[in-house]
C-alpha cells in the first residue's frame, strides 16, 4: 500500500494544478472549408432529406391503411369522401410541371410551411391515438414516430435552405422562411378533425413534401436526365 501513496499524491497535485475552468466544447472540424475535411455536399444533404421524407410518407401510408381497413371497411378504394384539410389554405403546386415552374425559394417555402403546419396536429394525433383503446400500442408508436420524423425533416430542410442561401442559390426574395406558422387542424365546420381525417390529410401532404423535395433537388443539383 505504501507504494501507492506517492502515485496518489502526484495525481492529486496534478489535478489541483489543472485548469479547472477549461471547458469541454466541440470544436468545428472544418473551419477552413472543403480543403481541410469532408463537408457534406448539398446533394448528400438533399439525399438524406429525401430519404427521410420517403420514410415519413411510408409511415403515414401504413397508418392510413390500417385505419381504413379496421375502422372504415365500407369505403371502396376509389370513392373517397372529400376531406378539407387544414393545410388547404397553403397554395401548393398540383403537378410536376407546376412544381417545376415554381421558384426555388417558393418551393422551399412551401415545403417548410407544410412541415410547420403539421407540427401540432401530429402531436395531437398521437395523443388521441394513445388514449383511445381501439388502437394498439403499435399504431400509436407509429404516430409518435411520424411526429418525430416530421420535426426532424423540418430541421433538415431548414439546414438545406441555409446551405442554399450560403451558396447563393436562393435569392433575397425569401420571405416565407420566417413566416411559417403553426396551424390548428380545424375543419370547415370548426370542429376538430377526426383521426381518420388527419391521417388522410397527412398522407397527402407527406407525399407532396417528398415530391417537392425531389423536384427541388433536381433543380438545385443538376444531374443527368433531371
Amino acid at each position: 500500500m505504501s507504494s501507492f501513496l506517492p502515485a496518489v499524491a502526484v495525481l492529486l497535485v496534478a489535478l489541483l494544478c489543472l485548469d479547472l475552468h477549461s471547458r469541454v466544447a466541440s470544436a468545428p472540424i472544418c473551419t477552413h472549408g472543403p480543403s481541410g475535411c469532408h463537408v457534406l455536399s448539398l446533394a448528400d444533404l438533399f439525399d438524406r432529406v429525401i430519404q427521410h421524407s420517403a420514410r415519413m410518407h411510408s409511415l403515414s401510408n401504413d397508418l392510413h391503411s390500417e385505419f381504413e381497413q379496421y375502422f372504415l371497411p365500407s369505403k371502396n378504394h376509389i370513392g373517397k369522401i372529400y376531406h378539407k384539410c387544414h393545410t388547404s389554405s397553403i397554395l401548393t403546386p398540383n403537378g410536376k410541371e407546376n412544381a417545376q415552374k415554381l421558384a426555388r425559394e417558393e418551393l422551399t417555402e412551401v415545403i417548410l410551411k407544410l412541415l410547420m403546419a403539421w407540427r401540432d396536429p401530429l402531436f395531437q394525433l398521437h395523443q388521441s391515438m394513445a388514449h383511445q383503446q381501439d388502437f394498439n400500442s403499435f399504431s400509436s408508436n407509429k404516430a409518435l414516430e411520424m411526429g418525430d420524423m416530421a420535426h426532424e425533416l423540418r430541421k433538415g430542410v431548414e439546414k438545406v435552405a441555409e446551405r442554399m442561401r450560403v451558396l447563393g442559390m436562393l435569392g433575397n426574395s425569401v420571405t416565407g422562411l420566417s413566416a411559417a406558422e403553426a396551424m390548428l387542424p380545424i375543419s370547415d365546420s370548426g370542429e376538430a378533425m377526426s383521426n381518420y381525417e388527419l391521417l388522410y390529410c397527412f398522407r397527402r401532404d407527406s407525399n407532396k413534401v417528398q415530391n417537392y423535395l425531389k423536384i427541388l433537388k433536381c433543380r438545385i443539383v443538376p444531374e443527368h436526365d433531371c
Partner: protein, 574 residues
Amino acid sequence: SFYSPRGPHFTGCRSREQETFRCWWSAGIFQNLTEPGTLRVFYQTKNALSEWQECPDYTHTVKNECYFNKTFTHIWTSYCIQLRSVRENITYDETCFTVENIVHPDPPIGLNWTLLNVSHSGLHFDILVRWAPPPSADVQMGWMSLMYQVQYRVRNASHWEMLDLESGTQQSIYGLHTDKEYEVRVRCKMSAFNNFGEFSDSILVHVAQIPSKESTFPTTLVLIFGVIGLVILLVLLIFSQQQRLMVIFLPPIPAPKIKGIDPELLKNGKLDQLNSLLSSQDMYKPDFYHEDPWVEFIQLDLDDPAEKNESSDTQHLLGLSRSGSSHVLHFKSDDDSGRASCYDPEIPNPEDLAALLPGHSGRGDNHPLVSRSSSSIPDLGVQQTSEVEETPIQTQPAVPSWVNMDFYAQVSDFTPAGGVVLSPGQLNSSPEKKKEEENEKKIPFQLVSDGAYTSENTARQLSADVPPSPGPEQGYQTFPTQAVEGNLWNGEYLVSTSDSQIPYLLPEAPPVPILPPVSGYTVVQEVDAQHSLLLNPPSSQPAICPHSPNKHLPAMPTMPMGYLTPDLLGNLTP
C-alpha cells in the same frame, strides 16, 4: 361507382405516370344508350369548388374513355366524376378519387436473365434477373419511386412463386432445377401506395442438365455403410466395457460405515450387542467419566509429617475446622497414576509409632489413622503398622464423633451446592462408651497408600467393637473375613493383622460373625470381555498379588484391584 352493374356505370379510372389519367365507363344493359354521345362525363375538382365540367377529351380510338391530360390533371386533388345522360338529365353514376391513389404504373421493360452458377450435382442453378423501369414513369427525378415484384413458375404450372419487393432493378432467383423450363415476370407499383401495375411479358429460363460422370449413388452408399459400421462399433464397445463405463459414469455411492462396526450387525443385531459394540468404541469411554461430577477419588496417602498440618479434603467435606489437635483423617488426593501393587512399603518410623501409642498426647498432629508417605505402598506381605491414637480420644474431648467412625463413610446426601454429606458410620451409644471401647481397641492396620478405599476387611476390623449388624441402614457392611488374604486388592489396602505383631490388638475382639456379602460395597473382581464388572463373590478367592496371573487382567500391574478408575478401564481390552 361499381355498385350498379345494370345501368351505365364507370368501370375504372387509372393513371399510368401520375401526370394524366383516364376513366372508362359502360352503358350496361341499357342498349339504347350505347350510342356515343348519349352518356357524358362531368367532373369537378373539389378544392377549387369549381363547376361541373365535361370531360376534356373523349378518346376517339377507345370507346367510352375519358382522357385527362396534364393540364387537367391535378395531383393531390379530389376529383368527382359523374356519368350523365344529357337527354334525360339523369346521373347514372358518380365517383370521387384523388389521382395519386389511382396510379397503376406501366410494367417494367427489358426483362432478361443471366446464369449465376450451377450446383456441383448439376441439379440446381441460380439466375439473376434484370429489368428496366417503365419509360413513362419519371424515376430519374423521383417523381415516381417504384417497387418491383418478380414472379416465376415452372412453365404452365398453376401457381406463381412470388419474391419480395425490390426497389432496385435486378433480383436473383435461387434453387431452380435444371431440365425444367421456368417463366419469369415482373410488375411494379409506387412505393407507399398499393396499386400494382400490369405484369411484364414472361421470359423463359432453361438450363440443360450436364450429365456428370461420377455417379452420386456410390457416395451415398459408402456414407450410409460407414455410419452403420460406426454405430455397430460403438455398440460393441459399450457392451464390452459396460462395467467400466458404469463405474465411470455412475460411480457407486459409498455406503455409510462406522469404523470397526459391521453394518450388517447394525441392521440386524440385538440391542445388547449394539450397546456393547458402541460402548467399546474409544470415542465414548473417556467422555463418560470425565463428565461425571460425582466421581471423586478420595485417596489415602502416607503423608510426610510435615504435611499433616494441611487440611484435607475430608475436612472441607465434613465442614470441620482445621486445628492442630484435630485428628483428622488425613486424606490426600493423589493422582491415581499406575503404581506397582507389590511395592515395599515404607517401614514406619518406630518413633512415630510410639508417638501414636495411647497416652501420648503430645503429638496432636498424629492421626488415628496415620497416613504415611504416599510413595510407599504396603505389600501384602508387609504389614505396616499404624497406631490407633487413642489418646486423642481421651485427651481431646472435642474430638468429633466421626473420628470413631469406621473407615468407610457413606455419602448419605448431597447438598444443593454439590457438597457431599457423609453419614457417620457406626456410632455407638455414647461417646464415653466409645472411648472406652476405643481404649481397649486397638486395631492395627495398614493403611493404603493412595488411591483406594480401604478394604472391607480393614473396615471390619476398624469397627470390630461395633456389633456388626446386617442391614443397609448402617450405611455399610463389613465383611467378616478372617484373613488378610481375603483382600483382593493388590496394592493399596488396609490390612488388618489379626496376628499379634502389634501388641495392641484387642484380645477380646469377638469373633466377627461371617456375614453374607450384601450390597453397598463390592469389590470389583474383574472385568470380563464385555466390559461388565464381575463383582467379588462371598468366598472370594484371593488374588493376592498381581504377579499371580489373572487371565482377565493380563498386563495390568498398576491397577488397583478394588477400584477401577475410568482411565484404567480404558486400558482394559476385551
